[in-house]
Symmetry: C2
Subunit: 151 residues, 2 copies
DNA sequence: TATTGTTATACTCTATAACTATA
DNA sequence: TATAGTTATAGAGTATAACAATA
């Protein structure tokens, strides 16, 4: 653990919450979509992994099963997601986006991207590349099921 | 708004919540300190700006006044912060860390930094420098009172 | 009246513990 | 008994609306 680590850690601790808040605020104001960040991430995962189980979603989000169950329940009640038991193994469920959920997610994602891109366009391409590279590094380091994570 | 912006925005949208969760989990397990991220950030701001008003804290956190009031109230009840009306302008309050709050904050910060640094030590110095630079860029772009923020 | 802060209310996030149902 | 998921309960985060107090 060098002084570089510590400096880098300090920066992350300072900046990541600020960016996170901007994302959250943008998402809440995403006209008509109005998703929380965990809801958004859950929908995104279900879109990419149609038929996913609750446990898989929980793993991806880094949340406990009960938390995820409640979260998904909200999405089901808003008719954005279907939750059906698997034939042959009725303990498992299969999650999928509805025809309401799909376009709503797409809209939320576009809006969130715009909000971020509006800030990012003040940077040069090189600077943006630096950020992209950083995000890739951080992704590898922090993605769930990579190191200590499961609550 | 170029394709670079959008790509960069996508990366941020994907990765920042993951890093945020790692920070949150680390902080919750920060033995004895047990602070939420907003609590931590509030304490940090009050430490650096002793005597700050509630509005100043709210601005810094990017929260509404009621949210901040509730947040600070929790810190006061835990005896981490003092909240005294200003002589001569009794609408304003002055916030400061207590002798309990100061060391607790220091401990929480050290712990959080260690948790992050443990991951970061898997990177080269160059990679860490890339992250530091990115964080500085993002800080400028997203810090409150810099663009659309006030919830 | 405008400003600073608090209280009331309501929802989401998130956890642990206890439970149900299925394998 | 072990596994997948739900329900019960609880505290924090957060907002808007309504309020209180002071300038």
């Amino acid at each position: 653990m060098t002084t570089v680590d510590v400096n880098c850690a300090q920066e992350i601790l300072e900046v990541v919450p600020i960016v996170m808040r901007a994302i959250r605020n943008g998402m809440r104001q995403g006209r008509s979509a109005d998703l929380s960040v965990p809801q958004f991430r859950a929908l995104l995962f279900i879109q990419r992994n149609s038929g996913a189980s609750l446990s898989e979603v929980a793993d991806h989000l880094g949340l406990t099963l009960p938390s995820t169950s409640t979260l998904v329940d909200g999405l089901v009640q808003r008719s954005l997601v279907t939750r059906v038991p698997v034939e042959g193994n009725r303990r498992r469920i299969r999650l999928a986006l509805t025809d309401t959920g799909r376009p709503l997610l797409e809209q939320a994602r576009q809006y969130a991207q715009e909000v971020l891109a509006q800030r990012l366009c003040n940077l040069t391409e090189d600077e943006q590349q630096t950020i992209v590279l950083s995000m890739e590094l951080l992704h590898k380091l922090f993605q769930p099921a990579n190191g200590t994570n499961g609550g």
